[in-house]
């Protein structure tokens, strides 16, 4: 499958590398065509890995992944172009972290809106699914690093798009029964708002090698 990844950070690079290892073709998109990170990534990714602009990555992909920071995602997707997103599954992995001058972290948007919802509103022809924004990217692509069942969460308005997302996550190693459907795209608020808790738990554990699980009666 041809996959366009918007964003050249460690999340985009990690997802891109995994997708290529699975036999997909990937274009990693950046603001500028000569982005050094993207070119370096493509240089070591082999013949199925390419670097390009946001628009080139989105045009290339039959499926598009937003791996930019949540505070700049809308701007990046505008540059990618609505015409290159229309009708496609758009997996939104972002969290809208705002780093304060005091080292504190907050979210924008939050509470009554989310990046996932904003993207779906601005690109109504895209089939947006919020996913993978609740854990470290090394775990996104290798869930077996952790022991026992642990969970991913998806949210979106299009049932078919969510099924396609579950299938792709299955290629990463996620059993479908570990993936919880939180409902419509407003569920993106719920998972984006986990970030302050996740950061405190990272402080507790001392590393990012953990994920959520649930206990039930009997």
């Amino acid at each position: 499958m041809r996959i366009g990844i918007i964003g050249t950070g460690v999340v985009g690079q990690t997802l891109g590398g995994k997708l290529i290892s699975l036999g997909h073709r990937v274009t990693l998109g950046s603001r500028d065509k000569d982005n050094e990170k993207a070119l370096a990534w493509a240089g070591q990714a082999g013949p199925d890995g390419h670097a390009g602009t946001f628009a080139e990555a989105a045009a290339f992909g039959e499926l598009v992944i937003n791996a930019t920071g949540g505070t700049v995602s809308l701007e990046a997707l505008r540059a990618a172009g609505a015409e290159h997103l229309s009708g496609k599954l758009l997996i939104d992995v972002s969290n809208p972290l705002v780093f304060g001058p005091d080292g504190g972290v907050s979210l924008d948007p939050v509470n009554t809106d989310s990046v996932g919802e904003r993207i779906q509103r601005e690109f109504p022809e895209a089939r947006v699914v919020k996913a993978l924004n609740t854990l470290n990217c090394a775990l996104m692509v290798e869930p077996a690093k952790l022991t026992g069942e642990h969970n991913l969460f998806i949210a979106g308005n299009d049932a078919g798009a969510k099924a396609e997302t579950v299938a792709l996550l299955g290629e990463f190693g996620w059993p479908s029964e570990w993936i919880v459907d939180l409902g419509d795209i407003a569920g993106a608020r719920a998972t984006e708002m986990l970030m302050p808790f996740w950061l405190r738990m990272m402080g507790h554990f001392g590393d990012a090698e953990f994920n959520y699980s649930f206990r039930r009666a009997g």
Copy 2:
């Protein structure tokens, strides 16, 4: 121990009943002295259960629990009186849920502040610990309802107050190693902001009989 509970809802009543069963004495405090829910609760609670005003409950308690809704907690604690909270462990169980006209739920405060922090700022002589606001009250007092290890989270500025909280939770049945210290009282933001996720997970499970757990490597 004498314990004052601010708030007469199901959370306050459930905690009060459990505390009495453990041998403590409890005054359940309400805005009005003739609150029917509090009087009915005291009527069936036995000789160790009393009903009173917010101020009477706070004055009674060697330890005080805030079990009011988070949007009215400050007002209730002002009525309880700073002089009745000074020097005491104040366990804040609240979540600041705001129910919108469309059935939607949001939080106020959120993101850059929390009820836990507001209480600590307004009552600097109280030793505030945020705790128990991440699960259903039936599970708060009976963790063995669920199978396997699952977690509670505490946050506060006073190490001694957190140790006292862990001891009390131990009486409820929580092993100390299941209780995660998230750090200072600003950690209350993290757990209060779990509520939208918790509500979506309740929708997924179809009931409130679940709690958070974590998976780690090897």
